[in-house]
Structure formats: C-alpha cells, structure tokens
C-alpha cells in the first residue's frame, strides 16, 4: 500500500454515467487481481472522502479504473482532464484464491454484474493467460450497463451476455445461464468468481452451493479509509468462518474477496 500521485492519461466516457480512467502513478506498484484503490482528485475540497474503485488493469506504473458515477465524489473524478492529478492509495485488499483452477484444473466461471466487472477483469485475463478453462457470464440492466464487455470478449474465452431488458444478449438475469452452465459441468467441476449487486451475488452463492462449486465474491461496502483504520466497511460473516469473536469483518482488509459461504447473505 502506497499513497501515490496519479496523473491522468485519459478519462473517457463509455456510456451514460460510465467512465474509463487511466492514471500514470508516481511509482510502480504490484497489483493482484481483485485489489482496489482509494481515489480523489488532488486538492478537491469536497466531498472529503476518497472513493473505492477496483483496479481494472495495471501495467508498470499505470493503473486503469472503470466507474459508474452515483454521486458527488465520482462526479468530481469524471470532470478531471488529461494531465491533472489524482491521489491514489493502492493497492488495497486481498486477491482471489486460484489454486483449484491452476493446480487442480477446475473450470473458472466468472460472473460479472454491471460495474462489478472491473473487479474481475484482471482475474479473467490472468487465468486465460495461464491456460485455464475460463468462461464469463456478464449481466447488466441494459446494453449500456456492460462496461468493458469488449475487453472481456477480446480475451478469447466464451462470454455470455444477459440484460434485464433484452437490449443485448439473453433477456433476464445472469444467474439463469450460470445455473445451466454449472448443471452441465457437473458437481465440484467449477470455481465461481462473482462481483456485482448484492442480490446477484447472494443468488450466485446459492446456485454455486447447489452444484458443490467453490464460490468467491468480491464485496462492496461504504468505506472511509480503505486500509483498516475506521472500521466502517464491515460485512456480517457466519460463525466459525473467522476466528472468534467477531461477526463483523472489514471488507477493505479482510476482503474485498470472501468465500461466499462465509457471508451472512
């Protein structure tokens, strides 16, 4: 973890409210798939808190993020231009366990919901690069809510798209083709990695359990600091999944990736 200065290389709009930003950092960092950063335009007075974004790509001293503007913080980020500065605390959090895919040869089934996709891109890219059997299920509300779909497709692994309104791919929830896939593959054949809205991850977790597939989820939580000092970002976990006595675990330091069965859905 380092507190670095980032210089904007580009910050372009992908779709209404979706942006893609690339920053050149003052120092090189080693980033693992699933890790995130806390960002804020330098010298911004308000809002005061940084925003958490998954690291979509990292290469030498450059990092990329894809974000959906919900409020003031990311709105301010969307307005900054090439050459301007961003404060970047990174890399933060843990990574996805991949032993069952790499060492035991299980299939990797990646399930992205909307802007959950950036948290999964480095994982997909790394697993494909290592020759693993990878497939991606990507769901969004509309065809505009599939950020970086083209980048997933360019990896060369099968990508199945669903939208709630049918404007792209299959109409309906991403969990429908996921369930078909896991049923066909057979019990214990797959490892599922998911990031998206809470109800989607809850359902993915249930489906994976039904097919005895390991499942890891990358969670979001309201964060003030991103590195463990505020204890705001907690998620309730099941008894026995972490050392007692705590039923609340910090998403920023114990996560953001958790085994799905550890979470109280």
């Amino acid at each position: 973890m380092k507190d670095l200065a980032g210089t904007v290389e580009f910050n372009r709009q992908l779709a209404p409210r979706y942006y893609h930003i690339r920053l050149r950092l003052s120092e090189q960092v080693d980033v693992l798939p699933g890790q995130f950063a806390m960002l804020r335009p330098a010298a911004l007075a308000e809002p005061i808190l940084r925003r958490a974004l998954a690291i979509h790509r990292a290469e030498d001293a450059s990092v990329e993020f894809i974000y959906l503007v919900l409020g003031q913080g990311l709105e301010a980020l969307s307005r900054i231009r090439e050459g301007e500065r961003v404060d970047v605390l990174c890399p933060l959090g843990n990574t996805y366990p991949t032993e069952s895919v790499i060492d035991e040869g299980r299939r990797a089934v990646i399930v992205a919901g909307g802007v959950g996709s950036p948290a999964l891109f480095m994982l997909a890219s790394e697993l494909v690069g290592r020759g693993a059997d990878v497939r991606v299920y990507f769901g969004g509300r509309t065809k505009h809510d599939l950020p970086a779909l083209d980048e997933f497709e360019a990896l060369g692994c099968p990508v199945t798209v669903t939208t709630d309104d049918g404007s792209a791919g299959e109409r309906g929830f991403v969990t429908v083709p996921l369930e078909r896939d896991l049923a066909l593959a057979g019990r214990e054949a797959s490892v599922v990695y998911a990031c998206g809205p809470w109800p989607m991850m809850a359902r993915v977790s249930e489906i994976a359990a039904g097919h005895a597939a390991k499942c890891y989820v990358s969670l979001e939580a309201r964060m003030a600091c991103g590195f463990g000092i505020c204890v705001a970002c907690v998620v309730e976990v099941c008894e026995g999944s972490f050392a007692p006595p705590f039923k609340y675990q910090k998403v920023c330091t114990e996560g953001p990736v958790f085994p799905a069965e550890a979470i109280v859905w």
């Binding site: 380092k2 809002p47 940084r50 309201r222 600091c225 000092i229 204890v231 006595p245």
Partner: protein, 319 residues
Amino acid sequence: MVTPRENGRDPRLAVEVAGIRFHNPVLTASGCCGYGLEFEPLFDLSRIGGICTKGLSAKPMQGNPPARIQETPAGMLNAIGLQNIGARAFIEQKLPRLREYDVRVLTNVFGYTIDDYVEAIHILNDGDGIDGYELNISCPNVKEGGLIIGNDPRAAAEVTEAVKRVAKRPVIVKLSPNISDVAGMARAIESAGADALSLINTLVGVSIDIRTRRPRIANVTGGLSGPAIRPVAVRMVMQAAAAVQIPLIGIGGIATAEDAVEFLIAGAAAVQIGTASFYDPLATVKAVEGLSAYLDETGTESIRTLTGSLDLSPPPRGH
C-alpha cells in the same frame, strides 16, 4: 532560517502533557488509526508524537451493524459501535510491535458503568509501554438510565476519580461536545484528579435518505467529525483553557499544521488528527513537518509558546 534537527527531529516541537513527553504535539485520534500499526506501510510511526488507540474495553465488542458511516458536508457521521479486540488482546497482539517505535501510546478506554472502566484499566496497567490512558466518557451510563456520562459533570467526575484510584499512568479525560457548560464540566473533571483533558469527541447527528425516508446509518444517530466541526472544537478548547490549569489536547476537524496551530493558540498543548487520516493517510506526518515550517516562517521559538497565546484585545480599527 534552517530548522534545527536532532535525530531528524525538530526539538522545537517537543511538548509535555500530563507528565508524558511527546517529541511533537501531533497524535492520531482514537478510532481513526486502528491500533496504530495499520499505518506501518505508510510511514515510520516514530515520526508522530503519539498514537491514541481505538476505544478499548475489558472484553471485545462486536460493534454496530452496517451501514456505519455517511459522508456529510465537510465531514462524516459514524456509528461504529466501538468494535474492538479487547484490552487483553491489545496488550498481547498489538503493543509489543508498537513499542518498537519511539512514539507515545495512549490507550483510549470506554465503558457503560464505572466498573467497566476500572476493569479495563486494571488489565491495561499490565501493558508495558502504554504511556497514558484517555477516557472516552461519551457513552450511555447503563446504571443511570442511559444518560451520557460525559453530559453530567457529577457522573464524569465519578468515573475520573474511580479510574485515578487504580490507574498506574496519567489519565486524560475526553470531553463530549454535547454539553452547554464547558467550563463547569472541565472544572469538575479537573477537581476529580484528571491529568489532562482532550476535546472534542463527535457531535451527535442524523442524516436521512429522502427517497427511502430512512436514516442513512443503521444506528440512526451517528457522531459528526471532520472539518465541519472544527470551529466548535476551537471554541470549546478556548473555553476549557480559561477554566482549568491542566493541559488540553485539541481534537476536531484538524487536517493540516495550520488547523493544529489554531487549536494551540486557543489553548491546546497538543492535538489529535482523526477523520483527516481517512482521506489523507499522511495527514499526521505532514502536519508535523508543517509545524516546523510555521515556526520558521513566523520566527517562533518553540511550539510551546503558542499554547494559549490567543489575543483577545480589540483589533486595530479597519479590520
């Protein structure tokens, strides 16, 4: 002018509060630095004056359900619910490593009865390398129908006396801002034997989501912190300074050396930085450097000469 340094430190910044010598007056605030070690990857802990830990209790606490925070104009509301690993685990798991740094360690302690405080202090008395205790008295008193201890001078004095009787180290009592008579409260705690006061804790607030009409944090009310509360905190430090002899530690919305100096002038001998560390993790070390720069620029001999130097004489005409 070149800043004189000893071991990379500026001796002009050294202060003594409650008999504890800090090599500079910048401390982390409780609940805004974990147990201190979270900062290890970011800076050498010996660069700041002190660490004031997350509130500790005799037994571990789970804390409140999420959502625990909400950002607000120039600040934030929090209702973490004092989640902590417990005093014993702190001594065993955190303190040995903290002791490797040349930084003073204050353990913040809270309770819901006098016995809770005393029990936690008994445990912490065994902790080698703890320099002092800070009492968070902004908790409801379960024996008194849930009244906040820190809102009642008599209850605050009772807790202070009980802790002073058992504490093997200096006791700093942290004032709640949710009171009207600052001077009266400060005097009551001073008379009860406190070695210093720290102020302020958070102000109670509520934020409502107007679409769902629900409170934005699960606990409904939360504590307001950040730059938004700074003027309230400076005012309270000024009032407390006029009322008591014991030293004060200023807290509330401090993000820079300039903010810290404001508290020193108002009457504080040292400061704590809380919320600012969330959005600027190096805020404390930057403030230490900024204080040296301020002394250079203003030709001030030492930081100690600033404390209570507020000029209340009528300003020159035309200002």
